[in-house]
């Protein structure tokens, strides 16, 4: 029965084209264009892959649009038997309505999970294999993956770039700083007699550069040429979780309402309006309600190295919750909507 449900969904040409375009087509075209541009004009256009592209494509595109297309598929699976008049035929077979409903879950997940996996694999592959060979940190080309001592050692050897490129808090050690001369050439200087800048000695510059490297290391260590294997696995699972939630909730809502369009609109509103608001805004006396929104819970489970979903910027959640709470909220949504959808299907006149 699962196989035939899979067939029924897979044969919906328009829907499948949309799903493939969003989950696979859009990332593929975007990355292909970047690959092409970089190949044609490498100095003007940076590498197609890399860490920043990875985070944008995974946390920005696949996460949000994966949810929306999964929800669309779920709403379709939950309502089309009714709208196409097949529900009656299925009920007359004598098979329990619950079994008919539950068969849609693995069938739909087989489609959406595999499509999201393909899209994500393409993103990972391009981001790893077309990553830049050097890291651009504050506009300074720095070797990637250095330890703190390695970064300090590199900074000592490249004091001028560090002092003139890296950001640092207040005065650097011994008042050493960067002076961008009228000719555009930068030089490392130190306050001389009367406060006038004079060229710093090599030792003074090295000491200041090492000091700045120490300040910047916590930020530097978050910079990668390309995502690590563990990050890609965590991100993949996180995106698949979001797609699964989108499908299951969409299925339940579609079954509950009995029609697709309204259900899809409600799911889109949830994902791109309600959830971002709930994440970014602290509504007095409604914090627990905000925590109960599934998007807030899944955002909480986002891998730490990714920027906050929905453009929140980092891990600075305004609505905080424990991981246990987040997992409970997600389970409640999955089970709750499945029960609601199945209940409606079991009680509905066919």
């Amino acid at each position: 029965m699962i196989a035939t449900r899979f067939l029924e969904l897979r044969k919906r040409r328009g829907l499948m084209i949309t799903l493939v375009l969003v989950t696979v087509g859009f990332p593929t075209v975007f990355l292909a264009v970047r690959l092409l541009l970089h190949a044609v004009a490498p100095k003007t256009y940076g590498p197609a892959g890399g860490y920043s592209i990875y985070t944008a494509m995974s946390a920005g595109v696949l996460y949000t649009f994966g949810f929306i297309v999964a929800a669309t598929l779920g709403c379709t699976a939950g309502s089309v038997d009714l709208s196409d008049g097949m529900f009656r035929h299925l009920v007359i077979t004598g098979r329990s309505r619950l079994a008919i409903y539950l068969a849609r879950i693995p069938a739909g997940l087989a489609i959406i999970v595999s499509l999201v996996a393909v899209g994500f694999t393409i993103v990972c592959a391009v981001c790893v294999y077309a990553a830049p060979s050097k890291l651009s940190y504050n506009g300074v080309t720095v070797p990637a993956g250095l330890s703190q001592s390695g970064l300090e050692s590199w900074a000592a050897d490249n004091a001028t770039e560090v002092l003139c490129g890296f950001s640092y808090n207040g005065q650097s050690k011994q008042g050493v700083g960067c002076d961008n001369g009228p000719g555009g050439s930068a030089r490392v200087v130190i306050a001389g007699p009367g406060g006038r800048p004079v060229p710093a000695s090599a030792d003074q510059a090295k000491a200041a550069a090492i000091d700045i490297a120490q300040q910047n290391y916590p930020d530097y260590k978050k910079q990668f040429l390309y995502p690590s294997n563990s990050l890609m696995i965590k991100t993949g699972l996180w995106i698949e979780l979001e797609a699964t939630i989108g499908f299951v909730v969409g299925l339940g809502l579609g079954s509950l309402l009995g029609q697709r369009t309204v259900a899809v609109i409600l799911m889109i509103v949830l994902e791109i309006i309600l959830t971002p608001i709930a994440i970014r805004t602290r509504i007095p006396h409604f914090i627990n309600g905000q925590r109960g929104i599934v998007g807030v819970a899944t955002a909480h489970l986002e891998p730490a190295q990714l920027p906050l979903a929905f453009g929140g910027g980092g891990q600075d959640f305004r609505v905080t919750e424990s991981t246990t709470t987040a997992i409970c909220v997600i389970l409640a949504w999955l089970i709750g909507w499945t029960v609601l959808g199945a209940w409606r299907m079991m009680t509905r006149d066919a």
Partner: protein, 325 residues
């Protein structure tokens, strides 16, 4: 009373399985509108049974209740000896049905739609798909998308969907809809062949002539009530016989016949008479009518006995008779 109460009623006898369909006091309301009103229906096994009624009489609602598509408000019912809704799954596994217009997934082929339905039935159903498609004569178009099917083809596909379950009982709601005359003929033959195989076919239809040709027994439903049920031959046996007479002087012919003790109602029509005789009229009475007319000098051009049809009987017994069109 709720559907749950129906199941729990202990004082009603369990079905012994001798009836294909058995309902007692079955009722279904939609707000204040009573669609099915305490229906007692007995459909014997192995026959073609017509289920007739005017529009809005509650035919389809009763079928929907029987099939578990909607819940009964009161009463008991059983299909093939299985009490429903308690043993609905076991009963429906042996039932095939078309309710209202047969609709399918238009983006799938006929075969794929049947695969979808076969997957919900026992494993053997999958093996019957081709045979079912062949039996309703759409095997050639089985791999076309249903959206390209005509109404008649969808009707045939609906029957094929019934057949994949190898049903003992088929409930067909207006199966002739959308069929051309040849298709209706084929459908009639198929229904008879299904009955010949020992299956029970319940046929809900407005086409009374088709029902009369196809079915062994009928039930007439009106305003949610079964008003008559039984074998067609028995039901029509109680109806009057009309003698159509084309003759030279209808008024004088009427006067001649009025002077006899035939017990006939005589109406003068254009070019002749319509003589309504009791149901048990014998051939001798017809001969006596001819003799009286000829002896009285009336030229008789045609004398034809007409037995009441199911249609005329239906109009007599349903409340729609005399309703404004």
């Amino acid at each position: 009373m709720t559907a749950t109460d129906v199941v729990a009623e202990p004082d009603l006898p369990a079905s012994d399985g001798s009836w294909a369909v058995e309902t007692r006091g079955l009722a279904k309301r939609f707000g204040s509108n009573v669609a099915v009103n305490g229906v007692d229906l007995l459909i014997p096994r192995g026959c073609a049974f017509g289920y007739l009624g005017p529009n809005g009489a509650g035919k389809t609602t009763l079928i929907r209740v029987l099939l578990g598509l909607t819940r009964a408000d009161a009463g008991t019912m059983s299909l093939l000896g299985y009490s429903v809704p308690r043993h609905r799954d076991k009963a429906l596994a042996r039932v095939g049905a078309i309710v209202d217009e047969p609709r399918f997934h238009g983006h799938l082929t006929g075969r794929q739609n049947l695969q979808l339905l076969a997957a919900a039935r026992e494993p053997a159903a999958r093996g019957r798909i081709d045979a079912s498609l062949d039996r309703v004569e759409i095997l050639r178009r089985a791999d076309d998308r249903v959206s390209k099917y005509s109404m008649g083809m969808r009707q045939r596909l609906g029957v094929a969907a019934c057949l994949i379950g190898d049903p003992e009982l088929l409930i067909l709601d207006e199966p002739m809809n959308g069929l051309d005359p040849a298709g209706m003929h084929d459908m009639r033959d198929m229904i008879r062949s299904l009955v010949a195989e020992g299956r029970t076919v319940v046929l809900s239809s407005h086409l009374l002539d088709e029902v009369q040709r196809t079915c062994d027994a009928v039930a007439i439903v009106d305003r949610g009530n079964i008003i008559r049920q039984g074998p067609i031959s028995e039901l029509l046996a109680g109806t009057s016989l009309t003698l159509q007479v084309d003759c030279s002087d209808p008024d004088r012919a009427r006067s001649l016949l009025a002077g006899t003790n035939l017990g006939a109602a005589i109406d003068v029509e254009a070019g002749g008479l319509a003589i309504t005789l009791p149901a048990d009229t014998t051939r001798d009475v017809i001969a006596e009518v001819a003799r009286v007319l000829v002896t009285g000098g009336i030229a008789v051009y045609r004398l034809q006995p007409v037995q009441a049809s199911l249609e005329s009987w239906f109009l007599q017994v349903t409340s729609r008779l005399g309703d404004p069109a």
